[in-house]
């Protein structure tokens, strides 16, 4: 491992994080609440640590794929640790384990919270909480690549390790340019969303918070009752649509920008994503009409918002779906596992992997009927490499293992089965709310410190797609000479 170079890159990352705290500093300055000093201290700490790490001389600047993985996993842990400081220093969250949970939940765009009540928190802190969603959604390291003047060839390893999906690819030949385009699309869409929300009648500050939460598919709100607090149909529809947009692969957005509309509907993953969401909305609407809501329209309104928020792993809520009938709740839990598209800001297993798994099963069935048959797995008219197909199956298995181990540890706290099961499902899928105690109106506050730390790591596992985190636990990864 090229440890010097890794430290150097991590130092740069911390400097970028310091810069990303400036908007929150500005907000706290405007509202003049007592969180100002917490930001100043954190920024100073970040700058000093970052500059010291950056000043290390690295004679060899090559980064191989394991270095890329190390940078991503260590970088995310570091960024989350420093990101927790404003919460802790301002006194908004008195325990550091809680602050770390909140920070990880922000950066991984989960949106689970240990706060029972958020409306009384200083505005700068709330802004920072939502801003972590925004930079975590597209990726902290991708942000670093976008702002760096010259990103070398080896930095592609970093982007590959951080971007979600089985086979991340570049949009344009240069990595720095790709990162800039991605953040450009992201920024423009976010600004459009803010404007639309203001037009729909939401106050500017609340629009900012909800736009940042939607863009990162995070789900932190400044209201205890989330989006439901406004009871504003327009805002709900806008957020529903934009959650869907941010859950779509950004490569498709780029294609559409270039005028290639057809690419969107030719894409296997997008069709699956759209189809699943529409099916879920229809089924839930039928199930809810008459049992919870009286009119079809009201059922449709809440079913579509909830389907979009859970499938894109955002985690806002307009109603307490904990009270819904079991059928709808099971659909929501299934959507938690599926997640949205690869290459988006969303979490979960990702639609493309489900598509791949389904196609593999189909291939296995054909193999039984025609034992000598040769079939390739095709997506979008292109034959996929076997390593990608088998990568998807092993990813699914690894996901389930992490899920099982986490449930086992969390169950020590003795909460009921639904709470335990959905709390892990929601954190590994970076969704936000679960059912029962951790439902849309609940919080994770009652869990023990051990469980909170486990949840924090589970969120990181989910966001970074397991392998970069798992590699930290491999002994041979740390040895100087690894054979």
């Amino acid at each position: 491992m090229n440890i010097r170079m890794i430290i150097k890159v991590l130092g740069t990352l911390l400097i970028v994080e310091a810069a990303s705290m400036l908007p929150s500093l500005l907000v706290s300055l405007i509202y003049g609440q007592d969180d100002f000093s917490a930001f100043v201290v954190t920024i100073m700490l970040l700058l000093v640590t970052g500059l010291i790490m950056y000043s290390i001389k690295a004679p060899n600047t090559n980064l191989y794929s394991k270095d890329g993985f190390a940078i991503v996993s260590l970088g995310w842990i570091l960024v989350s640790l420093f990101g927790a400081l404003p919460f802790f220093l301002s006194g908004a969250i008195p325990h550091f384990a809680d602050a770390f949970f909140e920070s990880v939940s922000g950066f991984t765009t989960t949106g689970s919270t240990i706060l029972r009540e958020v409306e009384s928190l200083p505005r700068g802190i709330l802004f920072w909480r939502s801003f972590t969603h925004w930079i975590g959604g597209m990726g902290v390291l991708v942000l670093m690549l976008a702002v760096l003047p010259k990103a070398g060839a080896s930095t592609f390893q970093i982007m590959k390790a951080e971007s979600p999906g089985p086979n991340p690819d570049k949009l344009v030949p240069k990595i720095g340019q790709t990162a800039k385009i991605l953040y450009g699309i992201y920024l423009v869409l976010t600004i459009i969303l803010i404007v639309l929300l203001v037009i729909a009648g939401m106050p500017l500050y609340d629009s900012l918070i909800h736009a940042l939460g939607t863009a990162g598919t995070g789900g932190f709100s400044n209201m205890n009752r989330s989006v439901g607090a406004y009871n504003n149909v327009y805002a709900e529809v806008i957020i529903t649509v934009f959650m869907f947009i941010f859950g779509t692969n950004f490569t498709l957005h780029y294609q559409v920008l270039k005028g290639n509309w057809k690419a969107m509907f030719k894409d296997d993953e997008f069709r699956f994503y759209l189809g699943t969401m529409v099916a879920a909305i229809i089924l839930m609407t039928i199930n809810l009409t008459g049992t919870i809501f009286n009119s079809v329209w009201e059922s449709l309104r809440h079913a579509s918002f909830q389907a979009s928020t859970i499938m894109t792993t955002t985690g806002f809520a307009t109603t307490d779906f904990n009270l819904w009938p079991s059928f709808s709740k099971v659909i929501l839990v299934l959507l938690m596992f599926i997640g949205a598209s690869a290459g988006s800001t969303a979490g979960g297993l990702k639609c493309i992997r489900i598509v791949l798994l389904l196609k593999t099963i189909k291939r296995e069935v054909i193999k039984v009927i025609h034992p000598k048959s040769v079939c390739t797995v095709k997506v979008g008219g292109r034959v996929l490499d076997d390593s990608i197909v088998s990568g998807a199956t092993s990813y699914f298995f690894a996901y389930m293992i992490i899920f099982t181990v986490a449930i086992l540890i969390v169950s020590l706290d003795g909460f009921d089965l639904t709470t335990t099961f959905t709390s892990v499902a929601t954190t590994i899928g970076n969704v936000g709310p679960g059912l029962e105690m951790v439902g849309p109106v609940g919080s994770f506050a009652d869990y023990s410190v051990l469980s909170k730390i486990v949840f924090s790591f589970v969120m990181l596992f989910g966001r970074l797609e397991i392998l970069p985190m798992l590699i930290l636990f491999a002994p041979s990864f740390w040895k100087k000479v690894n054979i």
């Binding site: 794929s65 990103a151 070398g152 060839a153 080896s154 930095t155 592609f156 390893q157 570049k170 344009v172 030949p173 240069k174 990595i175 340019q177 490499d385």
Partner: protein
């Protein structure tokens, strides 16, 4: 610039490597996913898996807005078709690697009909490079123009040279060689000389001309060009053929050792002036009986790196002054350096350097109506290539001696179709010529600007 490279072999990869370091947008197309994986892992480029001949793949790679399309697959025919398709689809310029000597003879037709901007033959380029290494000290700075047909060679004036204290007029009368002194470096300052310039000791002259003329000039002024008369070549492949033909121009005697009888017969037909010997080039007794130790230079060009290196070591041990080996694998340059072999050439690297240089010229010329632009003499002067159009009418067909040029500007070479003209007073510029201008004056953007006010 947006550059598409078709074919991710050694040439494609090293091209992508050097061009991406110069900040171009590179897209590589290849059928082989293994080769692409290496490129996408180590280079900041985009890789597309597919057939570079297919229009849809080329369009996906962005051929419509591409500045340069480089076809570097292993097949000549594929490269030609690829460039043809690419040009029709909208690529600004196309570069093809064409190596078959059959085609090499018809290059100018091919170039015109297929509208190729640059054709490169790796073997021929390698042969030129080896010939250059044999003619000059390797430390000497050499620049090439007009696709390798014109050289700019650096020459330091020392006291034993007869040209000291002569002006250029006298020199050109005394020394019968068709060359031009393009620039002089005196006390670290570049001077673009005229006819009355007087040469002093310690001046560094930049001599411009066709390779054979430059060599001839160097010999006449007794610059200690290594006295190489006898060259032994082991391996009779295409490079050996081109090299032997090349060396004959400089009156060097060439002996080729080749194992394959049929090839030997073929070579003896093609190269009547050379001695062809059938035998194993790594066989020490054969080499000795062919008096290896009396040779001035030894070049090993077989298809195996190991044989080339061993033969070269044998030659070095026998006391040959200059030993050159061809090595195809590029992974171990430092080991070879320690072995004591004078020079190692790699045709693929030479090819890729050649194209890189061309691309650099194009990049420098961007935003200028200049064809290509090279900075020479450590960036202190520029060599610009213009194409003569109608609007340069005021000096078309006017003898150069009647043109009054600005100070610090020199018409260095006129390329007329396939002819190279080192201009003298009576030569004229015609429409359609390519003119290479050497100038100290930056920002020269139009050929008309070289004429001093009240010229002609």
């Amino acid at each position: 610039m947006k550059i598409i490279i078709v074919g991710d072999g050694k040439v494609g990869y090293s091209l992508a490597e050097s061009l991406s370091q110069e900040n171009h947008d590179i897209t590589i197309i290849d059928k082989n996913p293994e080769a692409l994986k290496k490129a996408s892992d180590y280079l900041d480029v985009m890789c597309i898996q597919g057939n570079g001949l297919s229009a849809s793949i080329l369009i996906e790679a962005g051929v419509k807005t591409a500045d340069i399309l480089i076809a570097a697959t292993s097949s000549d025919e594929m490269n030609m078709v690829c460039c043809l398709t690419g040009k029709k689809l909208g690529a600004e310029r196309t570069i093809a690697r064409i190596r078959d000597p059959e085609y090499a003879k018809e290059l100018s037709i091919l170039r015109d009909e297929l509208d190729l901007d640059l054709v490169i033959n790796p073997e021929q380029a390698a042969a030129r490079e080896i010939a250059r290494l044999l003619r000059f000290h390797s430390a000497m700075d050499i620049e090439i123009f007009a696709k390798g047909r014109v050289e700019l060679v650096e020459l330091k004036v020392t006291e034993e040279m007869p040209i000291i204290d002569m002006d250029f007029m006298t020199i050109s009368k005394k020394i019968s060689s068709n060359v031009l002194i393009g620039a002089v470096l005196r006390d670290n300052e570049v001077i673009i000389p005229n006819g009355s310039f007087v040469v002093k000791e310690n001046d560094i002259l930049y001599i411009l001309g066709e390779p054979s003329s430059v060599f001839d000039f160097g010999r006449q002024i007794k610059k200690c060009i290594p006295k190489i008369r006898n060259v032994m070549i082991v391996g009779g492949g295409r490079i050996a053929y081109y090299l032997a033909r090349n060396l004959r121009q400089f009156d060097m005697k060439v002996k080729i050792i080749e194992e394959n009888m049929d090839r030997c017969v073929e070579l003896s037909e093609l190269l009547p002036d050379c001695l062809i010997i059938k035998g194993d080039g790594t066989d020490y007794s054969l080499l000795q009986s062919e008096n290896l130790s009396d040779m001035d230079a030894f070049v090993s060009l077989t298809g195996h790196d190991e044989e080339n290196l061993i033969a070269a070591l044998l030659a070095k041990q026998s006391g040959v002054k200059k030993v050159i080996a061809k090595v195809t694998r590029i992974n171990y340059p430092t080991i070879i350096k320690n072995m004591g072999i004078d020079c190692v050439v790699n045709p693929k690297i030479i090819t890729s350097n050649y194209i890189t240089r061309y691309v650099r010229g194009l990049t420098n010329a961007q935003g200028n109506p200049v064809e290509t632009l090279y900075s020479i003499i450590g960036g202190q002067a520029e060599a610009l290539e213009f194409i003569v159009h109608n609007n340069n009418a005021k000096f078309l067909n006017v003898p150069l001696k009647k043109l009054k040029l600005k100070e610090g500007v020199l018409i260095a070479v006129i390329v007329r179709k396939n002819d190279i003209i080192i201009p003298h007073g009576d030569d004229v510029i015609k429409k359609g010529d390519k003119v290479i201008i050497i100038t100290k004056n930056r920002h020269l953007t139009d050929l008309n600007e070289i004429i001093a006010s009240g010229g002609i």
